[in-house]
């Protein structure tokens, strides 16, 4: 696919169509306009005037994930001012690596605010997705070139061959630190298939798209065993638990099924697994956030609405009845569930209109 075609495809995507074609009039199925108040609230709660997306739970840090998420949201809502501020702050403070990727964390109170130059591939991926999304809306060679640089370096540094020697590839969490004696540590929630495919299409870095497909296949294999793990080690002879790291279905893995659903892959077995576990564990107004991967036993739960939104959208998508128990967006929750919350509402409007909030 040529880049121009890919960009045209982005523009034609449902969430862009809502803006470009000016479908602001009230219709039965809401457009992204319905989320503008929520977006405004998100900005007020988590975005500083300088363009820093603050994650209070991480010592008030900003990280490539929060900046990438924020950039993508700003592009989705066609909020050029927010987009520019996030981009500007990120370029100034996190784009300090020798490659085009972002240093993964900026600590406001540290002497050396970016002590670690390692990257986080999910942050880079969303950052690139935000760039191509805005470039599709307001054609910009600069943005597209920057996105291409990120995608190129992401492919070069964070996509590695499968240790089994096959042609399959893995998306590693960072450029450094995830090799273990010939095996590779993977965080499956760093895969966002839709983002990988759209960035690949827009930038021409096709390996991202192929890597997304391999990741989905890996997830399907793991779904046969149970819920998705937070971290998994992939070796020449298969997968195994990473020593010293969580193999629970926790705060990392809870993104996997929603990202698959958002990517249009609702039939993926990992989705059915996650929905099944949520349904068994259902407790009103509390959402499991950490579950045993094998048994689905709830280890931690949370009243935060963002986690409930994940479960509600999955439940609706997996079923056939219109309407979902999607909570209204609220900033009465930390950055992470709030951002996932907003993303789920975007996914609902753009991909699953029948799952509108009950």
């Amino acid at each position: 696919m040529k880049r121009r075609d890919a960009l045209a495809g982005l523009v034609a995507a449902p969430w862009h169509g809502a803006f470009v074609t000016g479908l602001w009039a009230q219709t039965a199925a809401p457009t992204l306009e319905a989320l503008l108040p929520a977006w405004a609230a998100w900005k007020l709660a988590y975005l500083t005037a300088e363009g820093r997306v603050v994650d209070v739970l991480q010592q008030g840090a900003s990280h490539s994930e929060s900046q990438g998420y924020g950039l993508f949201l700003a592009a989705t809502f066609a909020d050029r001012a927010a987009f520019d501020s996030i981009l500007g702050w990120t370029e100034l403070n996190l784009a300090i690596r020798p490659d085009a990727l972002l240093a993964w964390r900026w600590l406001p109170d540290a002497v050396d605010q970016v002590a670690d130059r390692n990257n986080a591939s999910d942050g880079d991926l969303f950052y690139a997705w935000g760039l191509v999304t805005m470039a599709a809306r307001e054609p910009s060679a600069e943005l597209l070139t920057r996105a291409t640089a990120v995608a190129t370096d992401l492919a070069a540094r964070c996509i590695v061959p499968h240790p089994d020697g096959s042609e399959r590839m893995l998306f590693v969490p960072a450029a450094l630190g995830f090799d273990r004696d010939g095996a590779t540590i993977v965080n499956l929630s760093y895969y966002m298939p839709l983002a990988m495919r759209q960035v690949a299409a827009a930038t021409g870095v096709a390996v991202l798209s192929r890597c997304a497909a391999d990741g989905e296949a890996l997830m399907a294999a793991l779904a046969a065993e149970g819920l998705m793990p937070d971290w998994i080690q992939v070796g020449p002879s298969g997968t195994s638990v990473v020593e010293g790291m969580s193999d629970r279905n926790g705060y990392e893995a809870l993104r996997i099924a929603p990202f698959l659903v958002w990517s249009g892959n609702a039939a993926h077995p990992a989705v059915a697994r996650q929905v099944g576990a949520y349904r068994v564990a259902a407790v009103e107004r509390l959402t499991p956030t950490v579950m045993d991967r094998g048994t689905g036993a709830v280890i931690e739960n949370s009243p935060d609405a963002g986690y409930a939104a994940l479960a509600a959208l999955l439940d609706c998508v997996e079923g056939t009845i219109p309407g979902a128990a999607l909570p209204e967006f609220t900033t009465d929750q930390p950055y992470y569930p709030a951002t996932l919350h907003l993303m789920m509402l975007i996914a609902q409007i753009t991909v699953y209109p029948r799952c509108h909030p009950l």
Partner: protein
């Protein structure tokens, strides 16, 4: 950070290529992507240290370290009261109220509690709350004075399935003073939204009984009943829904997107229009445990069949007791039985209704025969004030001759103090402290009883009316509440829906299918016809463009300026204002007045067409409630323009030019009353007419005399 995930692998690695040292600029950065565009070696790689620390990126998502799984938050099913408002205040040394709680299944209740606070002036040692639950006394409570509401636990085991009745009786003493002022300062408040039972959300079963319970509680919360996806319903369907909702719980629809940001309060229930599938109704579980009445409308946007099972059609509400002119009626027959007073300040009101076509402007008299009794030895200065529609009729001393039956006292008063429509009779008693500068030594106890055998006689009048909004308000059907043709924003729709919900039919009052009330927000005020009033958008903007709560009433009535020494016109104007009593010209009356909404009848010749202009920032539900309650309010809108103040009261303007209209044939029997009415309405006009008739009579007499005398000469 969790131990398992806390692994931070600090790797010290050699970085072959180095990065630019981090630079933080003070100014807002401009984005220069040029280096990225140039490709090749990064131009900013020259001054980075040889070794940097690299961690495995990991972010901790846990808010707190949960030792155990959290318990789900509880929901509160709140209490209801007969009185309006969610904060009930009991003022005075004694008082009480009755609360209700509907509970389909008593086993789901975890905790029953009442949220209260008291004035800082009360003396706890001599104050007490006595509460019964379904007739069973609970332990008396000595209140604690705080400025915050506090929860008082009640025995949950006293609850029963169905309707529960909780009575509250308070005894409260002022800690410093005694007397009417002190009585005002002793009060207790009950927050109904924070009173009720707690229960797990999952215990709201998905059935009609729980839907009704949740609906009543949601409606009573004052937050309205959320409606999601309402755009998919036709206007008729929305009106029908609003109507049914008011019938079920007196609630009003609050359209919302469902996407937030969420309000602070948790919804117990909501209505959602579901897209897809065959038309039908189901009960679903929404976010937060709310019961959702899910409606799949017809392709035309009509409500699905079977609504009656969930939201039945509304029933009408009881009207004020009616008084028939010319007939003596006891207060007991009007719903006012023997009533005792026990506070240093006490007030009892009785509202009743006179026919809309009843009108007396002249000197006819009405009679109140007061039967009452009071105890002996009341402090000097104890008085009973009898009022009609806020105007004092009689001040009766109660500090002498008490303790013995009193003969009925006939109070004669001008019947013109009464209105067509709603009226209010008030008994106000004040007992000075003895002494006033010390706490009351003993509770006052019941000291005055107004007998229900007190009777009222209102004289008959010819069927007459002065044009005004009162009768129209009573006659507007819900279907008559509409939007301006070229409307309309969300505010207009909100106000319309709220009004549709609030305008519950009143027993015995016939509706006029031609009567209408058109709702507009200030931004659509150009839709309001100027009519004979001549009000324009600028006038309405001046009235309504003030911060909510900042409405004003002129300190004194603004009358047309009269400068006797300047011009004949001013003199004429002054004479005119005296000759035709009533409100000044509208433009003068409006000076300095502001409010949250304006209700008006643009054209007196078309009295069935009313308009409501809702100010920016006004609460549509509050405005709607005020309009609906105005139908029972003696101080409600009666003229052609009324401004709603922030306290819910109306400032009402009557056109002095609006003449009484006789609605029956003029006859010898009614001539005197009719003439009196016209003479009272416009004395100058009446005098001029009489003068003309006299002049004609004199002229005719002169002609007769001259003509007759001339005949005799011949």
């Amino acid at each position: 950070m969790k131990a398992g995930l806390a692994l931070v692998v600090s790797l010290v690695i050699a970085v072959g290529t180095v990065a630019r040292a981090q630079t933080v600029q003070e100014d807002v950065p401009t984005i220069d992507l040029t280096p990225m565009l140039e490709g090749g070696d990064h131009p900013i790689l020259s001054d980075v240290p040889e070794e940097v620390q690299v961690d495995i990126p990991h972010l901790d998502r846990v808010v707190v370290d949960p030792a155990d799984l959290r318990e789900p938050p509880e929901m509160v099913l709140s209490m209801q009261a007969e009185e309006a408002g969610r904060i009930l205040r009991i003022t005075g040394e004694t008082g009480g109220t009755k609360l209700f709680l509907d509970l389909p299944d008593v086993s789901v209740a975890d905790r029953l509690f009442l949220s209260y606070r008291t004035s800082v002036d009360i003396l706890p040692d001599r104050s007490q709350l006595r509460i019964t639950v379904n007739g069973t006394d609970t332990d008396p409570v000595t209140p604690v004075s705080t400025d915050r509401f506090q929860k008082l636990d009640l025995p949950v085991e006293l609850l029963v399935a169905g309707r529960n009745e909780i009575t509250v009786a308070v005894t409260q003493a002022h800690r410093i003073y005694c007397g009417p002022e002190a009585s005002f300062q002793t009060w207790s408040e009950f927050d109904l939204n924070a009173s009720g039972v707690t229960l797990k959300a999952s215990r709201f079963a998905l059935n009609e009984a729980w839907l009704r319970t949740a609906l009543i509680a949601q409606a009573a919360s004052g937050n309205g009943v959320p409606l999601r996806g309402g755009d998919a319903l036709s206007v008729t369907a929305r009106a029908d829904l609003a109507l049914r909702l008011s019938g079920a719980a007196g609630g009003w629809l609050r359209p919302e997107s469902g996407y937030g940001p969420a309000a602070a309060a948790t919804d117990l229930m909501r209505i959602s229009v579901v897209l897809g599938g065959a038309p039908g109704i189901s009960l679903r579980r929404g976010a937060g445990g709310a019961i959702v009445l899910a409606l799949v409308p017809t392709p035309e946007g009509a409500l699905p069949p079977g609504m009656d099972a969930y939201l039945p059609q509304p029933v009408s509400m009881a009207d004020l007791p009616a008084v028939s002119p010319g007939q003596t009626v006891t207060l007991e027959a009007l719903g006012f039985p023997d009533t005792s007073s026990a506070n240093h300040y006490s007030r009892q009101d009785l509202r009743f209704r006179l026919p809309d076509s009843w009108l007396i402007l002249a000197s006819q008299r009405a009679y109140l025969t007061l039967t009452y009794a009071f105890t002996a030895n009341l402090p000097e200065g104890t008085v009973l004030l009898v009022k009609i529609n806020g105007r004092a009729l009689q001040l009766l001393p109660l500090d002498k001759n008490g303790g013995a039956p009193r003969p009925p006292l006939e109070i004669e008063f001008p019947a013109r103090l009464l209105h067509p429509g709603a009226n209010e009779l008030t008994f106000e008693a004040t007992v000075p402290g003895d002494p006033p500068d010390l706490p009351c030594s003993t509770p006052l106890g019941p000291f005055l009883t107004i007998s229900g055998q007190t009777d009222l006689t209102v004289p008959v009048s010819p069927r007459m009316q002065i044009v005004g909004m009162g009768p129209t308000l009573l006659a507007i059907p819900r279907s008559g509440v509409g939007l301006a043709p070229d409307h309309a924003g969300q505010d207009d729709i909100l106000a319309q829906l709220a009004l549709m919900a609030q305008l519950q039919p009143i027993d015995g009052q016939s509706l006029d299918p031609e009567a209408s009330l058109t709702v507009v927000s200030l931004s659509s005020a150009d839709q309001v016809p100027a009519g004979e009033l001549g009000l324009n958008v600028r006038d309405l903007t001046t009235i309504l463009s003030v911060p909510v709560g900042g409405a004003a009433v002129p300190e004194k009535e603004v009358l047309p300026s009269v400068d006797w020494g300047t011009s004949a016109g001013a003199i004429l104007s002054g004479v005119r204002s005296m000759a035709r009593p009533g409100d000044p010209e509208l433009v003068d009356w409006l000076t300095g007045r502001t409010g949250e909404a304006v209700l008006l009848m643009p054209d007196g010749a078309v009295p069935a067409k009313l308009w409501l202009v809702v100010g920016p920032g006004s609460d549509p539900a509050k405005v709607a409630r005020a309009v609906a309650e105005a139908r029972m309010d003696p101080a409600g809108p009666r003229g052609q323009v009324a401004i709603l103040g922030p306290d819910g009261s109306w400032q009402d303007w009557h056109s002095a030019a609006a003449a009484p209209v006789l609605q029956e044939p003029l006859s010898l029997m009614n001539f005197r009353f009719v003439a009196g009415a016209y003479a009272s309405w416009d004395p100058l006009y009446f005098v001029l007419v009489l003068f003309g008739l006299t002049a004609v009579s004199v002229l005719l007499a002169l002609i007769f005399v001259v003509t007759t005398r001339g005949g005799r000469k011949q």
